[in-house]
């Protein structure tokens, strides 16, 4: 028996890593460090902190909506520089959702790496054409009179949704609020 039985991509990936290490272009430790960073420190908990602060601090919220990139610099998140972060606010009249129709662009610094469905061709193509239906299939049944806006991410601009604060959470602390905020609500496929 040989490694013929392994997934060809797994072998190709191992060959690639071994070749690059041999050429002195990187080390296995550096790759490990990136994986740990995105597993433990860069993720939706960062976006949740941003949302919680926007809920309790109107000045911060204004700064966030005016210039998301600068506003999140008030936190010190890892996860790659975002060229431009635009935060779009859900209101009584408008619901926002985010997609990357071409590949998988996503605001890593605040949300970490995208979930599988976000990268799938189904979501990428259908959320633009029939947003109401797709959101309903994902468990979010929006009233017919609520306007839906879809934001297509690009190399230059990444979007994050500022969900509406649930009424029952009024009066909670910033830290408690952050725990209520889910990744899906910040992509706009869930309401809180």
């Amino acid at each position: 028996m040989t490694d013929h039985d392994r997934e060809p991509q797994a072998i190709r990936a191992e060959a690639l890593e071994s070749l690059l290490i041999e050429k002195g272009l990187l080390t296995a430790d550096a790759i490990d460090e990136v994986i740990v960073r995105y597993s433990e420190r860069v993720g939706p908990m960062n976006g949740a902190r941003v949302v919680a602060r926007a809920w309790i601090d109107p000045d911060f919220k204004q700064r966030l909506l005016e210039d998301g990139t600068s506003a999140i610099n008030e936190f010190s998140f890892e996860g790659g520089r975002i060229e431009k972060l635009v935060v779009v606010e859900n209101t009584e009249k408008v619901h926002n959702a985010v997609v990357c129709t071409l590949c998988s662009c996503y605001p890593w610094a605040v949300l970490g790496l995208p979930p599988r469905w976000y990268k799938d061709p189904q979501y990428r193509s259908r959320i633009v054409r029939e947003p109401r239906t797709v959101l309903k299939e994902m468990g979010l049944d929006l009233p017919a009179d609520l306007e839906i806006r879809i934001w297509d991410s690009s190399a230059e601009v990444r979007y994050m949704v500022l969900p509406q604060q649930p009424e029952h959470s009024l009066g909670k602390s910033e830290q408690e609020l952050a725990q209520l905020v889910t990744r899906n609500s910040m992509v706009g496929v869930e309401s809180l």
Binding site: E14, A15, L16, P44, K119
Partner: protein
């Protein structure tokens, strides 16, 4: 869920961050090389968009979509185009690894 060696796999909102270890490795390789300045991330993004759009246009109805297959293909194309290695070197090593005995020492 636990991996064989007892380590919990990386999770993100209750989901696996990577579905197989090799996906994490190639993601790490791409990030490290880009952070070290071997290429701007946008170049990689363009290579990835090309691979994905080719699939979007050419796949058959029930073909499964494998995001990291495109990621890996885009990365190897970009790196050989940037002359970090010659593509034939990668194919040679690939073949070496493919025919080595099962259960070899890593």
């Amino acid at each position: 869920m636990e991996l064989e060696d007892g380590l919990a796999p990386p999770m993100a909102n209750g989901e696996l961050l990577f579905e197989a270890p090799w996906q994490g490795r190639v993601f790490g390789i791409a990030r490290v090389l880009s952070e070290q300045g071997y290429f701007p991330w946008d170049d990689f993004r363009e290579a990835l968009i090309n691979k994905i759009s080719y699939w979007d246009q050419s796949h058959r109805e029930h073909d499964p979509y494998a995001y990291y297959d495109h990621f890996l293909a885009a990365l190897t194309d970009l790196l050989s185009r940037k002359k970090l290695f010659d593509f034939s070197e990668l194919l040679d090593r690939d073949e070496q690894f493919r025919v080595r005995p099962h259960g070899h020492d890593h």
